[in-house]
């Protein structure tokens, strides 16, 4: 390239050509990798027709699977939400030896394969496991039952609320809380009336991510549940078993439903948050 005539940023036709080519490449890549498969499954459901959708949703096994997924997700959201909030608060408002080390632990679930999480639960609670005698003596079934399915889902979802809320808590600082205290607010009043409103979008977003992850969890749940038909069968396990039994059409319906629920949830939260921010700045 001749040095003297190099075009400036938004100049010549050559630059525009490069620009269009890069844009086309980016859009094409995403279309091929993401949109094509989504279109594929939508088409799969459409081809099955309304009757297939109706029969899938009237199947008691499907209903039970969705119900079980709902129960696990609800418990996970409550536990991970509450304790996540406490942990985020402790990490940003408290200082004690070992705080940094403890905060590094939060990231571990992101690094561990869900299958390994399932295996850990089996090793702890399964036959010969560390805690097996304790629960067996009390007649509590952990493995191949709801408790272990909830536990592994919580493990996997721990980071979301903490990692969404902690940076916001750090960013808003302590001045508003101190102001509330000087005005006579107790710690609880200050938390609920000053801190919580400032972090509510981060908290909601963390909960939405938790929900999406809990709805779609498969690896860990597959191992600890034993995938017992009609007993420990979640929505994702239903999909897996349906595929094995070559009932692709209903697998597609359930899969698309799960995806639609998570995507809608996250988009809605994002949308409300933006609208709210816009209103406040007006």
């Amino acid at each position: 390239m001749s040095v003297g005539t190099a075009p400036l940023a938004r100049g010549g036709s050559r630059t525009r050509l490069v620009r269009s080519a890069l844009l086309a490449l980016a859009l094409g890549y995403v279309a091929f990798l993401l949109l094509l498969p989504i279109a594929g499954i939508v088409w799969g459901v459409v081809r099955g027709g309304a009757s297939e959708v109706a029969s899938t949703f009237s199947d008691p096994a499907v209903r039970h699977a969705f119900w079980l997924t709902g129960v696990i997700t609800a418990i996970t959201v409550v536990v991970a939400g509450f304790f996540g909030l406490v942990a985020a608060w402790v990490f940003t408002r408290d200082r004690f030896p070992g705080r940094q080390a403890l905060s590094a632990v939060v990231d571990l679930p992101l690094a561990v394969s869900p299958v390994i999480v399932g295996l850990m639960a089996v090793i702890l609670f399964g036959r010969g496991g560390w805690f097996e005698p304790f629960f067996a003596a009390r007649g509590i079934q952990v493995i191949f039952a709801l408790p272990s399915m909830v536990l592994v889902t919580i493990f996997i979802c721990i980071p979301f609320v903490i990692r969404e809320v902690a940076p916001v808590l750090e960013e808003i600082g302590t001045a508003e809380e101190e102001a509330a205290h000087t005005l006579g607010a107790s710690s609880l009043q200050s938390f609920f009336r000053v801190t919580l409103p400032s972090i509510r979008w981060a908290l909601l977003y963390g909960i939405a991510l938790t929900t999406a992850r809990a709805l779609g969890e498969i690896g860990a749940v597959l191992i600890v549940s034993g995938a017992l038909r009609g007993l420990t069968e979640t929505a994702t396990l239903y999909i897996l078993l349906a595929l094995e039994e070559r009932q692709e059409a209903s697998a597609y319906v359930v899969a698309l439903t799960l995806a639609a629920v998570s995507v809608t949830l996250l988009l809605t939260i994002e949308f409300i948050k933006r609208k709210h921010e816009k209103e406040r700045a007006r």
Partner: protein, 285 residues
């Protein structure tokens, strides 16, 4: 729906020790320590101790079985390929999102985040629905000798799908904070678009791209939901997580724990490394 999970390390600046420490604070500390310790550390200790349970020798023999070697090798190769492809296209996507204004940009940005929202198992189902032997595209590709579903190529596509946002969302904030004046200075000194990108923009992005690629690698290593469907549980297309699942369903817990320990050690060190990279970058900036 850009998640903070990827954008920054857990923000722990100097917490003020201002408030008097009351009994309530000890309660909260204890709650946090018990929650994280009991829920995360204890199970990890359990699996590592089980992996080493019968000594280093047992661990070695578990890992030297042909199945384990093949699974770990396939996982490392496909995850590495995913990281490389992702580094290139992720940077491209971030660049296009930050520097170009085009109709539908917001929608495009939202679409890039879809893999965060779509359950990974559903991803696998989608890929089989598209590339499976009974699907039109799968049949057409099969006709020219390319097999995607139930083959290593399908595993690669599944990994690419679920990790697409990682590099984009680590590079994007760095790129948008990068002063455009530096690029303009480069143009004014006679450098072309490509030279400017290579010598001015790319060096500034390198830590973020590396961090994104490492996260991609770690995530791809552990991916299960998308792959268990696409790989079809056939020997030769088993990644380590699917292999662990098979061992577990055959109640071969020692071997499963051994493979898990290896996988977990690799991905954990990667995530910790990434965190350090991101933190250093944040401190520099």
């Amino acid at each position: 729906m850009a998640s903070r999970v990827l954008r920054q390390p857990l923000g722990l600046g100097a917490a003020r020790g201002g408030h008097p420490v009351g009994p309530g604070r000890w309660g909260l500390r204890a709650t946090t320590a018990l929650y994280l310790g009991g829920m995360i550390l204890l199970p990890l200790v359990a699996i590592v101790s089980r992996g080493f349970g019968e000594g280093i020798g047992a661990l070695q023999s578990a890992l030297s079985s042909p199945g384990a070697v093949a699974a770990i090798r396939l996982t490392l190769i496909t995850a590495a390929a995913t990281a490389v492809v992702n580094a290139v296209f992720g940077t491209l996507l971030a660049y296009v999102l930050v520097r170009y204004r085009f109709p539908g940009r917001t929608l495009f940005s939202a679409i890039v985040d879809l893999p965060f929202a779509i359950p990974t198992l559903v991803t696998g189902v989608m890929l089989v629905a598209l590339y499976g032997p009974n699907a039109p595209i799968g049949r057409a590709l099969g006709g020219v000798g390319i097999q995607v579903a139930f083959a290593p190529l399908g595993i690669l596509v599944a990994m690419l799908f679920v990790t697409l946002p990682f590099v984009v969302r680590t590079v994007q904030p760095v790129l948008s904070e990068l002063d455009h004046a530096e690029e303009e200075a480069s143009y004014s000194l006679g450098a072309g678009t490509w030279t400017t990108f290579r010598r001015i923009v790319l060096p500034a992005l390198r830590p973020a791209i590396t961090a994104g690629a490492l996260l991609t690698f770690a995530r791809a290593l552990g991916e299960f939901g998308a792959i268990v469907v696409v790989s079809g549980n056939i020997p030769g297309t088993l990644t380590a997580p699917v292999f662990i699942f098979q061992l577990t369903s055959q109640f071969r817990f020692e071997e499963a724990a051994a493979v898990s320990t290896v996988l977990f050690t690799i991905s954990c060190s990667l995530v910790l490394l990434t965190e350090r990279l991101l933190r250093r970058q944040k401190e520099d900036g």
